[in-house]
Amino acid sequence: MKKLFLCTCNKTLNKWLDYARIEKEMGSTFDAIHIHDALCLEEGLTFLDSEVSAEDSVVIGACTSQIIGAPMSKRLKCEHISYVPLREQVAWVHKDDQKGASSKASVLLHDAAIQVDYMDPQTIVETDIEKKVLIIGGCIAGLKAASDLLKLGVEVMLLEPSEWSRKSYEEMNQFMAESSNLKDAIRDLVLSSKKAKTVRGKITELSGNAGLYQISLKHDSGKEESNLVGSIIVATNAEHSPPPIAKMCRYGKSDRTLLITELPTLIAKQAAKDTKTIFVAVDPSHQLSTVEGSYLLRTITQASEKGNTVILAHSDISTKDENLYRAARKAGVIFVRGSLEKVKDSKKGMVCRLENTLESQVREFTVDYLVLQTQLKPSRSTGQLANVLGLELDQNGFIKTRYSKMKPVQTSKRGIFFAGSAKTTWWPWLFNQSRRDVI
């Protein structure tokens, strides 16, 4: 039975709420509605004892969940309870408007009625928790998670893509920090996550609940095994993919066109006097994330400091560190705000045409190289993985956060978390909720 209890709170809530109207509007939503004064006092609690049975779903509209929540939870026999803080969310904010207050109360109570239907049964987390975490890696975040969990004394199994090596970590993550810092960080992480059991292969099946998941693994060697883990952390990498303008820019067809991720290698090989003109283009449809922006700025600064003439066609420049932008300008990078419209591969070089919107004028640049800003997309394995694990994806194909603000690392499934670029969070945060669920 779905029951609604409305507390009049020392007969003060009547001042703000039209209880008769609320009762009428809630009539079809609940099986029973009781209005009672001072539910939090002994007399009120006794009343609840007599009215509520273990199978009921209960909505309580009262003062605030802080005051009423604790005594109720201890007392009530049922599992599905939702508190609607009427005093706090209605009476306090709609002081002079009984009509508005009552309408809002109805909406909140109605929401709560739906919510109790959707509540996970409270007993779902296994009490017999497996103190072991599976990290599905591919990213520096996976290593960081492994390293942290090991420090906490948690057993870790690190599932890595087949072809992975330390060098891949460096290459795949070079956009995150300056290369020397990154190398050091990776070296430390590899060292401190040594105790993790590393498996090369993929996960084929998942069953069970948070705290006790059963997973089936298929090793690259063909071997299959089944394991119990308490929690899973998805730390698959994001991939740099060519932007939509790549085709127009003859990427893959011309030697003069490359991706920004390939630029550092080109510069490293360059002889001191052999300077080039390099046109770097950001796809206009792509809003740069701060991490992409910082990487772009660092890379073009290096290219420019080596004596190359670097032109950047861009829209909004995003970075967490304004000084990176300052450094790029100081290094002499030529910033042109506009989007590449036409590219011609000529003998003299790539002819890049665009309108510089800051002077409303079309400009043509003939350059030695055309470099394209990549777009970070979820790694190809992410979708497949989400399918096996039963996780929801967001519109861009990244793993969906349960609650982006307060639970930025929880997936839609309890006991499964993510770290790093599996969702474009940029630093390998490990979130100790995992530990809480595991231990």
Binding site: K320, D321, S360, Y403, P408, L430
Partner: protein, 421 residues
């Protein structure tokens, strides 16, 4: 032996790190200088990326994705045994003896006993004093016994002795004897194994930025002030009005006022683009025209939908940094070059909202001086294995990143204190 940590600042990051550490078995003292926790978010009304109540974080759009019908923090900070919240409290000094911190704190009296008060608010009803409301705008007032905002935690009111006449009416009406008009300030020394600075940022009052005449007009406001106007629980009941009480039909927003500026804040304040977009969306919903003057729109991935929404709702974007906002014929006028049409514009509007820099609060406390670094921010590990920082104390950022950082720091504190395995 149980370890103790002191967290300074009970904004979102401080609350998060304190909770996490408590869950990991560490005793935590959470120090907050204001009377309520929540820091900057208490001013903000709805916050991104989800657009829900800053403090309740009552996730309306993600309601069925998770179990967060209620405030994430409220119960946690007040119900946890090992988490001791000290409001109205300042750090007097920090000293280090044999690897331990001795942190002396001083608490101002609240005059209302938190353990007794049931928040019936009858005391506020009977108070005869009316004084300007710090959280109000457009002449809002509050009583001498008051709650800064309805959702503030702790929920109990406090008494502002500067305005209290000690008439005793509140004492008489309180059925639970929670009010003590004679309560005195108290000092205390806490021994701690680790110190976490979550001192946060404030939106700088834009008095010192030449050209933008914030000082001379109440129609040139900041985003925190706009949030107060938009807040249904605020002094205008959510109505956006001019200083003379007229309805607002046009708003101009100026980004990077004093940010990315060698004469003011050299850094990018990170969050202003997004909260400007958020406010623009809210204003459009009220039928108000909005023009945003920007240089680069820096919107994190998690909040990109605000940009899409703003474009769909017809927010006007103008790329250019205004030189000045002056008062012409009683209305604010923004002078700016639209760099994409190369035209110098004079935009008249009813309100101008300045995105003032988010500036660090840590450097206002001398006791923290030794940890402060570039621009007044603190590095995440301010002192190896002992002093940490998280949230906006380490640099301006949005809430998800703050929370993520708080989580990461909690883990680091824990492994450092417990020695790991």
């Amino acid at each position: 032996m149980t370890k103790t940590a002191v967290v300074i600042g009970a904004g979102l990051a401080g609350i998060q790190v304190a909770q996490q550490l408590t869950d990991l078995g560490i005793v935590v003292h959470l120090i907050e200088k204001e009377s309520i926790i929540g820091g900057l978010s208490t001013h903000l009304g709805r916050v991104f990326p989800t657009g829900d109540c800053a403090l309740c974080l009552d996730a309306s759009t993600e309601i069925f994705d998770g179990q967060h019908r209620r405030c994430q923090y409220r119960g946690l900070v007040t119900e946890k045994k090992n988490l001791k919240l000290h409001t109205l409290t300042e750090i007097k000094s920090i000293s280090e003896v044999d690897g331990n911190f001795k942190i002396s704190i001083k608490s101002q009296p609240r005059h209302v006993d938190l353990d007794r008060c049931v928040v019936c608010l009858e005391c506020i009803e009977v108070c005869d004093v009316n004084t300007p409301d710090e959280y109000g705008i457009r002449g809002g007032t509050r009583k001498a016994i008051f709650r800064p905002i309805p959702q503030g935690v702790p929920l109990a009111p406090l008494i502002d002795m500067e305005h209290c006449t000690k008439c005793g009416k509140c004492v008489d009406i309180c059925k639970v004897n929670a009010i003590d008009l004679e309560e005195k300030e108290s000092t205390k020394t806490i021994k701690a194994d680790a110190l976490i600075l979550a001192t946060g940022v404030e939106e700088k009052v834009p008095l010192d930025f030449p050209g933008y005449e914030y000082r001379t007009s109440e129609d040139i406001i900041t985003h925190a002030e706009l949030a107060r106007l938009l807040d249904p629980a605020g002094s205008t009941n959510g109505e956006v009005t001019t200083s003379s009480g007229n309805t607002v039909s046009e708003v101009t927003m100026v980004l990077c006022v004093g940010s990315r500026d060698l004469d003011a804040a050299e850094y990018c304040s990170q969050a202003c683009c997004t909260y400007s977009l958020k406010h623009a969306d809210m204003l459009r919903d009220l039928g108000i025209d909005v023009t945003i003057c920007y240089m680069d729109l820096r919107v994190p991935k998690s909040s990109e939908h605000y940009l899409t929404l703003a474009r769909e709702k017809g927010v006007k974007f103008l790329r250019g940094k205004p030189d000045s906002v002056i008062i012409r014929n009683g209305k604010p006028m923004t002078i700016v070059e639209d760099t994409q049409s190369q035209k110098r514009m004079q935009i008249e509007s009813d309100l101008v909202v300045l995105a003032s820099p988010l500036s660090p609060l840590a450097d206002q406390n001398d006791a923290l001086a030794e940890f402060i670094g570039e621009y007044g921010f603190i590095s995440r590990v301010a002192k190896e294995g002992r002093v940490y920082a998280c949230g906006t104390a380490t640099g301006p950022t949005d809430i998800p990143t703050s929370i993520a950082e708080a989580n990461a720091i909690a883990l680091q504190v824990y492994t450092d204190l417990e020695g790991g395995v």
